[in-house]
C-alpha cells in the first residue's frame, strides 16, 4: 500500500520538521503536541477552535474533491468562500432583514451557494470553451473577491461613525445557533457532513459521479463514450464553488466572533480555501477520508491557536514563550506546507521503481 505509506511518510516528515523548529524555541516538542492535542479535544475553547476550523475546511474540501477527481484544478475556494459570505451578508442586511429566521437562514445558504458557484462560473466557462488554465483564473478570481470585499466594507456597506471599517452586525434571527458552551455553529456542521455523504453517494453510485471519474482518468475514453468534458468541467467547478460559498455563509452567520464583515477579508476566509486543497489531497480524494483529513488538519490549526495562548505554560522563559506564541500560526503553516509538498512529491515518486546501478551516469 504505497498510498498509505506516502501519507504516513508525509505526516512524519512534517512532524520532524516542526519538532526541529520547536526545539529552536527550547521547548520539548512532545509537550507541545500533547498540550495541543489534549486542550483541543478536552476543553470547550479547544473544541470551539477545532469546530471553527473543521466546518469550513470540510465544506470547501468536499467540493474540491469532486473537481480534483475530474482533474479540474479549482484553486479558487478562498474567493468562492468570500463571495458566499458577501452574498449572505447582503441578503441579511439589505434584502430581507425583517424576514424570520426560518426563512432568512435557508435563503442565506442558497444565495451563498449560488454566489460561490457564480464566482467559479467564469473560470469554468473559460476552461470548458477555450481551454484556459483554471489554476490561473481561479487564483486571480480570489484577488478580485478580496478587493470586492474591501470595497464593500470600506465603502457602501461600511457602518457609519465607527473607527474600523466593518459592516453592521447581522440581525439576530440571521445568526446561526451554536452548540452551548462552544462556538460550533451546528447548522453549518450538519450541512457539511450531509454534503460529504451526498458527494460520497454521487461519486460511487450515480452516473454523473462516474462521468466525473471518467473525465478525470481519461478524457479521450470519456469522449468516445459520448461524455462531454465541457459539461463535467462546468458541473465540478460550479459544485465546488457552491460548497465553498456555503462555508462562507457559515463564517459570517455562524462564527460568533464574526456576525459581520470586517475590515479585512483574511479575517473571514483565513486561508481556508487554500488549506482545503491540502485536506482534499490528504484524503486521497476519498469522500469519507475527508472526515479524517479535515479533522487532522483542524486539529493542527486549532493546536496553533491553543499554542498561542498556552505557550507560557510550556516554554522555559517568558522570552521564548512570547516568541513561540507569535510564531504559533506560522508553525502550523510550515507543517501544512511541508505535508502538501511531501504528498504531491510522493504522488509522483510512487509511479517509479527505484533501482541502484553501479557505474556510469545515464542520459536520455
Amino acid at each position: 500500500m504505497l498510498v498509505v505509506e506516502t501519507i504516513a511518510f508525509s505526516i512524519a516528515i512534517s512532524f520532524i520538521t516542526m519538532s526541529c523548529i520547536l526545539a529552536c524555541f527550547s521547548v520539548n516538542p512532545l509537550t507541545v503536541y500533547a498540550t495541543m492535542f489534549f486542550r483541543a479535544l478536552g476543553t470547550s475553547y479547544g473544541l470551539s477552535f477545532l469546530g471553527l476550523e473543521f466546518i469550513p475546511l470540510l465544506l470547501c474540501s468536499t467540493g474540491l474533491l469532486v473537481a480534483f477527481r475530474a482533474k479540474v484544478w479549482n484553486i479558487g475556494a478562498e474567493g468562492q468562500l468570500l463571495m458566499g459570505a458577501i452574498a449572505a451578508t447582503w441578503l441579511a442586511l439589505y434584502v430581507m432583514p425583517e424576514a424570520p429566521g426560518f426563512m432568512l437562514i435557508p435563503c442565506m445558504f442558497i444565495t451563498g451557494f449560488l454566489a460561490g458557484s457564480a464566482w467559479a462560473f467564469l473560470p469554468a466557462l473559460l476552461r470548458a470553451k477555450l481551454n484556459v488554465n483554471e489554476v490561473i483564473t481561479t487564483l486571480m478570481m480570489n484577488y478580485i473577491a478580496m478587493e470586492l470585499f474591501n470595497y464593500l466594507v470600506q465603502g457602501p456597506w461600511r457602518r457609519s461613525a465607527y473607527l474600523f471599517p466593518e459592516t453592521e452586525e447581522l440581525p439576530e434571527q440571521a445568526q446561526l445557533p451554536v452548540i452551548p458552551g462552544t462556538s460550533v455553529h451546528y447548522p453549518t456542521l450538519a450541512i457539511a457532513i450531509g454534503a460529504v455523504f451526498l458527494v460520497a453517494v454521487m461519486m460511487w453510485k450515480t452516473k454523473i459521479g462516474y462521468e466525473v471519474k471518467l473525465v478525470g482518468d481519461n478524457p479521450e475514453a470519456a469522449r468516445q463514450a459520448g461524455v462531454s468534458t465541457q459539461k463535467i468541467v462546468m458541473f465540478t467547478m460550479l459544485l465546488s464553488g457552491g460548497l465553498a460559498g456555503l462555508a462562507g455563509v457559515g463564517e459570517v452567520a455562524g462564527n460568533p466572533a464574526h456576525h459581520k464583515l470586517y475590515y479585512s477579508p483574511e479575517i473571514i476566509s483565513a486561508g481556508r480555501g487554500y488549506t482545503a486543497i491540502i485536506v482534499a489531497w490528504l484524503s486521497r480524494l476519498n469522500p469519507l477520508g475527508l472526515f479524517i483529513s479535515a479533522f487532522f488538519i483542524s486539529l493542527m490549526l486549532a493546536g496553533g491557536s491553543i499554542l498561542k495562548t498556552a505557550s507560557f505554560g510550556i516554554a522555559p522563559t517568558p522570552e521564548s514563550a512570547r516568541a513561540l506564541a507569535n510564531a504559533a500560526h506560522e508553525l502550523v503553516g510550515i507543517f501544512n506546507g511541508v505535508m502538501l509538498l511531501c504528498l504531491v512529491a510522493g504522488e509522483l515518486l510512487t509511479r517509479y521503481k527505484i533501482t541502484l546501478r553501479w557505474g556510469g551516469r545515464g542520459e536520455l
Binding site: 450515480t206 452516473k207 471518467l214 469522449r223 468516445q224 463514450a225 459520448g226 556510469g360 545515464g362 542520459e363
Partner: protein, 504 residues
Amino acid sequence: MLVKMVGITKRFPSVIANYKVDFELRAGEIHALLGENGAGKTTLMNILYGLYRPDEGRIFFEGREVKIRSPKDAIRLGIGMIHQHFRLVPSLTVAENVALGLGEAKFFMPAKSVEDRIVALSERYGLKIDPDAKIWQLSVGERQRVEILKALIRDIKVLILDEPTTVLTPGERDQLFKVMRKLADEGKGIVFITHKLGEVKAVSDRVTVLRRGRVVASGLDAKRVSVLELARLMVGEKFEFGLKERKPVAFREVVLDVKGLAVRDDKGLLAVKDVSFELRAGEILGIAGVAGNGQRELVEALVGLRKPEKGSIKIMGVEVAGKGPRDILELGVAFIPEDRVGMGIAPGLSVEENLILKCYHRPPFSKGPFLDLRFISEWSRKLVDEYGIMTPSLKTPVGVLSGGNIQRLILARELSMKPRLIVASHPTYGLDVAASEYIRSLLIEQRNKGAAVLLVSEDLEEIMALSDKIAVMYDGRIVGDVMETSGVDIHKLGLMMSGAWEGG
C-alpha cells in the same frame, strides 16, 4: 566493418523483440533496416544506441568489442540516433537545443559559440535552419533537421534514423535523402529504419529485413533486389488459416455506406481525400496500408470522434456525418481503437467501470441518475468469465492488466453490445500470438453472426486471413478499387501500400 552486432536477443514480457539478430554496418553506406511494425527494428537500434541492454549477444565497433550501457556510451563511440519522436525543448532556440544536446551545458549556455558551428554544418550539408528560431516555430521537417544537427555537431561515425520520412512532405523527404547520401559519401555509416519499400530502393545501398524479431534477409544489395521480393520478405509467404471458418451469410444488407468522404487531421491537412466504399452485413472489409495514410482519420470520422470535412457516412441508412460518438454507438457501432490504453480504457478506473463505458447511461445499467451497481457487478462477472479476462478482481484498476487482457476487456465491452458494425483498428497490434488468434476468431465469429466488420491493419497476413474484401489506403485515398480477397496477391498489395502501384 564499422558496426557488427552478433546474436542479439532481447525479450520483453510476453514478446521476444529480437531473436539472435546479426547486423552489420559498413562505413560509407546507407543500410536500410526494413520490416513491419513490431518486427523489432527500433528495438535493435535502441540496443545499439544504449537505450536497451541486450539479453544476449555482442556488439563490435570498429573491430573491437564494446559494451554500450547508456546513450552516453554510444555517443562517446560516435553513434547518433534520430528518434521518431523528437527530443527537443519547444520554448528554446535551435542553438540552445543543440547546445543542450552537446551535454556541455554548464551554468552559462554556450549557445553563442554553438551558433557558428551550426551555420557551418548547415551550409556544408544543406540543412537550412535559423539558429535563433524557437523550436515551436518550426515545421516538423525543420525540427528533424535540428535533431540531425544535434547528432552531426558531435562528429559522429554512425547515424541511425528511425522512420525519418513518416513526418515529412515529399519535398522534405528528397532533401533528407540528399543529406543522407552526402553523409555516407563522407564515410559515415547510416542506418535507415523504414517500412516503406519504395524508399529502400530510392536511397539505400544495402538492406536487412526483419520479421517478427528475426533476420530474414541480411545485407542484400538494394540495387539488385526487387520491390516485389522485398515485399515478400517483409510480410512472409506463409499464411495461417487456422482460424474459424468464414461461413457464407445469407442476408446481406448494406450496413455502412461511405461516399466522397474527406477528413482533416490534427494539423488541419486533408488526411482522407474522397473515400467511398460499402460494407455489408456478414462481411469483413480489410483496410490495408502503411500507418499515416489516413486510416486513423477515417476510423475516427466513422465513430464520431472527428468531424468530416465533406461527404456522407450512412450507418444502417442513417446519415451520421458530424454526429457525436454516443449517437453513433447507439446505432450499434462497436469501436476497437488503435491506441488501446490512450483511448480504449480509463486506466485508473476498475474493470467494472471500464466495462460499462459504453452502456452505463441506459437501463438496466442505470435507473434515472443512479447506477445499478449490483446488476453491473453480475454482468461484469459474466463478461470477465466469458472473455477470459485475467484480473485479480472486478475492482482492480485496468491500467495494471496486461495488453492482451486490456484488449479482451475492450472486446468484451464492445461485442457485448451486439454490434451491427465493428470498427477495429489494429486490433492485434503488439499482442502475442495466442491473444492475436483469439481476437481474430472473435472478429470472424461476429462476422458469421451477421455483423459488418471494418478491419484496419498494417499486418497483411491478418488482412488476408480475415477479410472478405480488401481496400488499400495510400495518401488518403483507396488505391484502385475494393477487391475480393480471393483475387488478390500479396505482392500487389505490397506495391499498392508503398504507393508504387501504377494500376493494372
